[in-house]
Symmetry: C2
Subunit: 193 residues, 2 copies
Amino acid sequence: MTDRKKQILLAAQKLIRENGYMAASMRDLAKQLQMEAPSLYNHIESKEEILSDICFDMADRFVTAMQEVNDIYFNADQKLTTAIRNHISILTENLDASHVFLHEWKNLNEPMLGRFKTMRDQYEEGFRVILQTGIDEGIFEENDVKFAALTILSSLNWIVEWYKPDGSMTPNQIAEKLTSFILTGLKIRNINF
Amino acid sequence: MTDRKKQILLAAQKLIRENGYMAASMRDLAKQLQMEAPSLYNHIESKEEILSDICFDMADRFVTAMQEVNDIYFNADQKLTTAIRNHISILTENLDASHVFLHEWKNLNEPMLGRFKTMRDQYEEGFRVILQTGIDEGIFEENDVKFAALTILSSLNWIVEWYKPDGSMTPNQIAEKLTSFILTGLKIRNINF
DNA sequence: CCTACCGATCGGTAGG
DNA sequence: CCTACCGATCGGTAGG
C-alpha cells in the first residue's frame, strides 16, 4: 500500500466516523487532503473499497490479537484478562477506524459483507472459547457463554462512544476496572434478589 | 399528533435504522407510505423534525420510567433491578426508535442537539444516583459510580444490536440474566489477579 | 394529496 | 494530479 493511500484511508476514517459512511462525500475527503475529488481515483477503486479496507484492517488486528492470546497463555483467567486488554488497546489506538468497524460495516455489499461477518464471528468465538475453558477449569461459575461473551463485548465496544485520549483514564486503567467489573460485578453484599 | 403523522414516524424509524439518517431519503419514506415525497410536507415541517420527534419521544420514555422507579421503590437494589428491566423493555419494544435514539441523534442541530444531550445525561444521572445510594446503604461495594453506570448502560444498549423479537430469550429473561451478571460478574472462584 | 420543478450535491469517468 | 462533465438523486417549494 502506497503512502498516499494510507493518508487517504486515515482521513477517510475520521470523516466517516464524523459523518457516517453515506454522508461522507468523496469531495469532502479530497478537500481534507488538499486535492480534487477525481484525483482520489488514482489511488482507490471506489468509495466502497475505502470502507472495505478500513473494516478488514481492523478485523485483522482483532483476530491476530486473539490468536496471540491463545498462543501465549494457558489459563482462562490470563487469556480473558489479556484479551480484554488487547481489545481495549486496539479500540483506543484506532478510535476512528473502530467506529467504522463497529457500525459502518453494514454498508458493505456482498461478497465483502459475508466475509466481514465471518471474521467478526471468528473473533467473538475466541471469547466464547475462553469463557467455556474457564468454566471447564472451574475458574468461572457455570453460565450462558454466548450471553456472557455478548455482554463483555458490549461493555468493551461502548468505550469508543465515550473514550477521550486526553481524558482522566488511560486505556490500561480502563482495562483494569472493566476486567474487575466483569469478574465480580457490583459485588453485592446482601443477596436478596 | 395526527394518525398520519404517527404512521410517518413509524415508517421513518424503520427506514432510518436500516439506512442511517443521512441515507434515508424522503422519497423512500414516501414510497413506504404509498404517497409522493412532497405530500409528506403536509404533515411534517422538515426531515430534521422527524429525527427530533423520534429522539425526544424515546428520551421521554426513558426519563419517565426513571422517575417512576424513584417514586415507587426505596431500596437501591430494587431500584437498580427495576431500572434495568424498564430500560430493556423500552429498548425491545421500540427497536427501530431505539437505534435512532442511541446513534442517529448526532445528526440533530442546535438547539435540539443541546436539549437532547441534557435529557440523555439526566437519565444516566438516574443510574449514577441509584448506584451511589446503594454504596451509601452498604449494599454495593465502593466503586467508581460514573464508570459503573457507563458499563451497565453499555451492556444494556448493545442489546439492540443483537436482539431479535422471535429469538430464544424474552426481554424479561434478558433483564434477569443481565442483572445477575451486573451484580456478580463471572463469579470467579480463585482470586489471583 | 398531486405534478412539475428548483438548486445543490452525489460517485465516478473522459481525457489530458 | 487537474478541468470539465455525466446521470442520478437529494430536501424542499410553488401552485393547484
